[in-house]
């Protein structure tokens, strides 16, 4: 079925965000912890029930209790005002490069990104099975402007014959989930009935 609408409908975070928990809240409030199923399906998405597979579904109550106990305590994070936008890491700004050629070496990334500023850290992880580059790299710049220029100038360019994408790695807050379900049915004005495929 062709997806005729290009627009994605976002949930209002207040209405829908089962994920929201205060960091450092300290109190394991069971009601705010996402139950696995509802958290994953976004609380009422109309997507079809998922095909499930695996033994993990057997002992759900016991396993879930265990899991909630583990996940209920506060998790540390760096102070952030929340909301959209990139988040600074402890000593700098981290960008993610994807689409990295499997034979790329650290030098290739140094050469491509070194012009924007001193690279404080570079992680070019390998595929644990093949030993080739897994396909992503994480690069740290000290200054926001350096990272931003790197993103702007390198995103969508070619490295070793492959197109790479470059973006921030960390965000100040949750992003609005795109969801298949439509709440506002029409983005355009035509009154003719929707085409059905």
């Amino acid at each position: 079925m062709a997806n005729a609408e290009a627009e994605a409908v976002d949930f209002e975070p207040e209405e829908d965000d089962l994920m929201d928990e205060d960091v450092g809240d300290g109190s394991p409030n069971r009601a705010t912890l996402p139950r696995l199923k509802s958290a994953i399906t976004g609380g009422g998405s109309s997507t079809a029930p998922k095909k499930t597979k695996g033994r993990g579904f057997r002992d759900e109550a016991a396993a879930e209790a265990d899991r909630n106990a583990r996940m209920s305590a506060p998790f540390d994070s760096l102070d952030s005002e929340g909301g959209p936008g990139p988040e600074r890491s402890i000593e700098g700004w981290i960008i993610l490069v994807t689409g990295v050629h499997e034979e790329a070496q650290e030098d290739d990334l140094q050469n491509a990104f070194g012009d924007f500023g001193e690279i404080k850290n570079l992680h070019l992880n390998l595929d644990r099975r093949t030993g080739f580059v897994k396909g992503y790299a994480l690069i740290e710049f000290e200054k926001f402007e350096e990272a931003q220029r790197a993103i702007r100038e390198m995103d969508g360019t070619e490295l070793l014959t492959q197109t790479i994408n470059v973006d921030w790695a960390f965000s100040k807050g949750p992003f609005r989930r795109r969801n298949v379900r439509r709440r506002s049915p029409r983005g355009h004005r035509s009154r003719s009935p929707r085409r059905r495929f």
Partner: protein, 151 residues
Amino acid sequence: MADGVDDGEFYLRYYVGHKGKFGHEFLEFEFRPDGKLRYANNSNYKNDTMIRKEIFLTPSVLKECRRIVADSEIMKEDDNNWPEPDRVGRQELEIVMGNEHISFTTSKIGSLMDVQTSKDPEGLRIFYYLVQDLKCFVFSLISLHFKIKPI
């Protein structure tokens, strides 16, 4: 390109641990659909304390995680012939991708020998390597952001 790389929900949780002489030792991380990555590592060995970190990831990072999962083809596997969790330990891998939801459990895997001598070496091998690749990814993210050695 494997199914579900850009569609719909994505959630991933991995747990490995055991309860023993030094308490409940475990490593767990979770990629949530809103972009939050949670990481926890607990060991009471030599009185180590719990590490719990969380950070919001950008959609680009989640997308790369999805790609890693999709490329592994783990969603096609099944754990019914994998060794059951036991005294030595337990692993859990739960993934929601598109309209599929897997929740696999198995024992700890010591080495490739354990994989090769199991009843489903192909499937377990996929699991084994995917877990390593995911750990690499998560450890890099956490260590770069927090400047800690996460293990």
